[in-house]
Symmetry: D2
Subunit: 366 residues, 4 copies
């Protein structure tokens, strides 16, 4: 093994995503080939006791409370942003201006304008947006099968992202219900993932017809969002994201039907991909129930032997590994800020369509 180059990381924010990112920084070198050594230098947040606990538990060297001074520190190479959504913009722009590598949670921003400003500010620095589900091995396999032409011309794309906690949010979720801090509700939180995967797997979305719905009294963000879509490739799509689907913990689901084959995925069963191959002999045609943990599957060859289930958190590990590899090779990484702007454009179209009760053209994914 060659000696690894050092990258000093500062993380702003320390919630659920803070833990997921911290884990990735630790694990990427264990499970992936990696030319960099990530040093967990400083973690930054407002609640100092909680921050100190987090730092101790996850091995961050220092704590800090003022992100503005952190993002300009000379000894920091990477700024990782996992704050509430509305803070993504000022932090990312400052970090980019300071020449840092910028990693940012999704959705990128609370408005299309803010997102575009971020992308513009970060044009010269490497960026990553944590659309981590792109690196679920089963989804990466889906992408490969589509690219290999196994599905043929695509006719249908169908995505739902169903969660159940909308009626009983926890205190730590409070910011998620403030339009000024979250931007939106189920749309930015859940639908953004579905849109990002759709753009990756099926290309640009041309136009949408959407509805947004709030079930809880006195709530200002959407609890559910539904949309019909026409893709640039001629296929039609149906999307739904909700926090009011009792019994569904994290059902990020999609299904794609093409002329030659079909695939189906459910995040609650994330180690499997269901693949229908029109080329199979008629008498044994049926969805293949593929346990995506083998040496011929994306990401898993360096992991455990086939049949050993991978956990949610490794989607972050693989995202980071690919990012570091693209850094090493001076290649463009996806999803970057521009990719996330494309997602924001579709979401902007969704909001406009829902407000106007009409079909709205989007310009995403170009």
């Amino acid at each position: 093994m060659r000696p690894r180059k050092n990258l000093n990381v500062a993380m702003i924010g320390y919630g659920f995503m803070g833990r997921a990112h911290s884990n990735a920084f630790h694990q990427v070198g264990h499970f992936c080939e990696c030319s960099y050594n990530l040093a967990l230098k400083v973690i930054c947040g407002r609640n100092q006791p909680q921050l100190q606990t987090m730092a101790t538990q996850w091995g961050w060297n220092e704590v800090a409370s003022d992100w503005e001074s952190v993002v300009t520190r000379k000894d920091i190479d990477v700024i990782d942003i996992c704050t509430p959504n509305y803070l993504h913009t000022p932090i990312a722009i400052a970090a980019a201006h300071a020449g840092k590598i910028v990693l940012c949670e999704k959705p990128l921003a609370v408005s299309i304008e803010a997102a575009e400003q971020m992308a513009e500010a970060a044009e010269k620095v490497p960026t990553l947006v944590w659309f981590n589900y792109r690196r679920v091995p089963a989804i990466a396999l889906a992408k490969k099968l589509i690219e290999d032409g196994k599905l043929g011309q695509i006719y249908h794309y169908r995505a739902t992202y169903l969660q159940s906690w909308g009626a009983e949010p926890q205190g730590s979720d409070a910011w998620r219900f403030k339009p000024s801090e979250a931007g939106s509700g189920a749309m930015g939180d859940l639908l953004s993932h579905s849109i990002d995967l759709a753009l990756m797997l099926n290309g640009p979305i041309a136009e949408v017809s959407a509805l947004m719905q709030t079930f809880a009294p006195n709530r200002e963000v959407d609890d559910a969002v539904l949309m019909l879509a026409r893709f640039a490739n001629g296929s039609v799509g149906s999307f739904e994201a909700t926090r009011y689907a009792i019994g569904c913990r994290n059902r990020n689901y999609f299904e794609i039907h093409g002329a030659k084959g079909a695939i189906r995925f459910d995040l609650e069963d994330m180690n499997r991909l269901h693949v229908f191959e029109g080329g199979d002999t008629m008498e044994v045609q049926g969805s293949h129930n593929v346990l995506v943990t083998g040496p011929s599957h994306p990401y898993t060859s360096q992991f455990w032997p086939p049949g050993h289930i991978l956990g949610y958190e490794h989607t972050f590990t693989f995202t980071l590994a690919d990012f570091l590899q693209s850094l090493e090779r001076h290649e463009i990484f996806h999803a970057n800020f521009q990719d996330a702007v494309n997602v924001e454009r579709v979401m902007h179209g969704v909001e406009e369509s829902a407000r106007m009760k009409s079909w709205t053209r989007t310009t995403a994914g170009r």
Copy 2:
């Protein structure tokens, strides 16, 4: 057992549905309590050799080629219509005018106007529309659970009806692609079932936004139809019907999420209902995989012992049994012509919405 009253049946048409209805006429007395004896008197159609074969195989006494004379025969009590859609209207109106009991395949007609004329003509006679899926035992159980309040306030209704033969239709399906004979494609054929179930399970649909799509070149009917819906009860819905979903033979699927519970159904696994109960102890909460074949389930108590799978055709048998019971008791049967008009109204809204690219109010389900 009391002696059964006799009902003489004439069936117009003899395709796939002709076989399904013939089977029901034979089987209803075997599996259900039944006050009537159904005599398979005459089967009417255009191709005499095929008709004769059908009559011999299924035990019809006579064959006939002229439906106009059949519907006025004095010795006929029941006219059962399973012709291509466009013939439903003249036959049903003539039969109703002759005072016959009228059974008719779905969709009721090729236009909302024709459907309304049929309903008006048949106001005084008992009518049945073969929305057979209402009597799938699992769907009847779903209805009971909803009526018992097990799901609480409904938030989400999600239905897909996916088939795969659109790219390779068979000769006998030719009329299904002619707008003048079928009225529409996937909409009347598949979506009509989903709408009927939605109206039955979740009440009236207030407005819809829809798209219709034809994938095959030079085809004049829709291959796929997608719609968003707002129900009168405040819930939101998503619907999709297509003949271009490779690998899906007959996936008539729906899922309903309420405040207290959820249910899920798939016709390709029609003996099961998946039921989530919010009242279950937290540690064992999860969808119940209910094999709907037991003595406490609708329709199945007089059938085989629990655990013995029921086939598709019994949805017709149960429909007929319920109809005969309502006839005996002088009660109104559902789905009748008026129920089918409600389905047509939603479909009319779908077409208008797709054409206008806007949300369209429907008046269905009143």
Copy 3:
């Protein structure tokens, strides 16, 4: 269609199986090509009111109470036996001596000796034993795949037949718990099916080690039976049948692993076969979830279109159709009395092994 030859049927017994057989007699001509017309001539049993109800409901011409006179009636061609097990032997022997075609429920007899006497008596007449699961389309497909070499050399055969009513039997099941009338408990009732399928699919069983268990106090027949087996082809097997598996209504399950592929079946999901093909591309290897309802599948081509679920009772219809075809063609039908004797031999070995607590050689399936 050629004119059908007439066969007059007398059925002895009228319980659950009586209904299943009556249904098959009615339905075989509807769904299968068939050179015979089956006339439901006489039904024979002890409880005359129940018998009369059954005759009316299922269209039997006459009722009778004395099987001995029925089996010798000149106007009867076929004797169908669905009495409690201990009566199979005298009725079948008398019917065979009278030259009748003999159809008999399983298990064939209450002892190996009785079974062998029946087979000997019936050597000259066509016989059928209602091992109906051989004609589940998915199981017939399994047989075809094995015969086509799709599984290669077989290593493992694993069967369970799980039911749940052992702790709460119904009154009508009383005879099933009397050794003199049933012969055995779960063994004859459930394991016999698993053994018959194993002999059909995987060939002769060379030796077994078994245990039999009675959970209910004061019960004289087995509630559960487990066995290990060595097949003549070198594969090893595991079998279990029980009436004490709460939650399992009728889970007749088997799984077969070979050098090149594997199959899995569950009667509670009887329209599906899970097929693993070692020849699939590595990245999409996984069990095919095959909905066995298509034109390329056994028995279903003359049924409903693909995707329409078949019910339990058609396993009897298909059994009868195959039998009538073999009758027409003067071919040997399986499962016949000799096949059922082979099952009895394995069960005899099971009992001996359980009693002696040792491995026991069987001579079945030669």
Copy 4:
């Protein structure tokens, strides 16, 4: 957080299990409350280049080649053994004699005698055997449900452990096929897990009847092992472990039927437990499909939010966390060396039964 006490770890061996253990040493402090800090001090093995790579990748301070000097080092507190099986015994005994805490992979030894010597030598030191599946959250939930009486009296225990690589072993598996180094094949490797879980969940096994089978030519260990069992609690069991089940990567499966409920688990779907509750209302009885990732489930409350899948490796993390907690509290940890001896006793009975072709009493689980 209180300051953590330091424990210096030396690991002997560095294969698949070496990676799994290294990961647990790193992760236990991240995901679990933990009073100890584990220092990855030294890793010991024979192939120095591979060992060096492993040390670099996983953060071991030193490498060593001579286990005999490592186990007596004063600066080492914990010896973790993940060598081929035959080396467990001398290393564990030496480590125990040196007063170290001893962690050891399963199966404990290559013979019952060796296992008993190890247990005797380690009587005074804390021991852990990596029967990691005890800490799958779903299995821990199963244990809780059984202890809470949710299943009532147990009737049936059914376990299979199916893998597929037996026909195509990799070079690194070579020792697994040498009787002197592995002790046995599928039995020690796979069946040992099933037995350990059975003893934990259902108590002692009284007697067994087993068969062992080798499919590969010239192989000296078992490729498959099947056994029937009678448990001390009156239930009956069926076990099967094989490396010749094509399509099954790591299907460690069990199913338990009791008087009041049933549970079902499959390691390939390890985040779920299927729970049947006899107390559910009849009409909605059916296996609950429980996604075991919630705050009311074992181990997962400190992990990700509900619905986020856990990976295989955390079974080691949780095992270690529980061990460290028992160490802190001076409580006895399970599975310890004595628990593993109980597994060895059953395996000894299996071998004897297979050789003698008779039922064999075991004395396990006392």
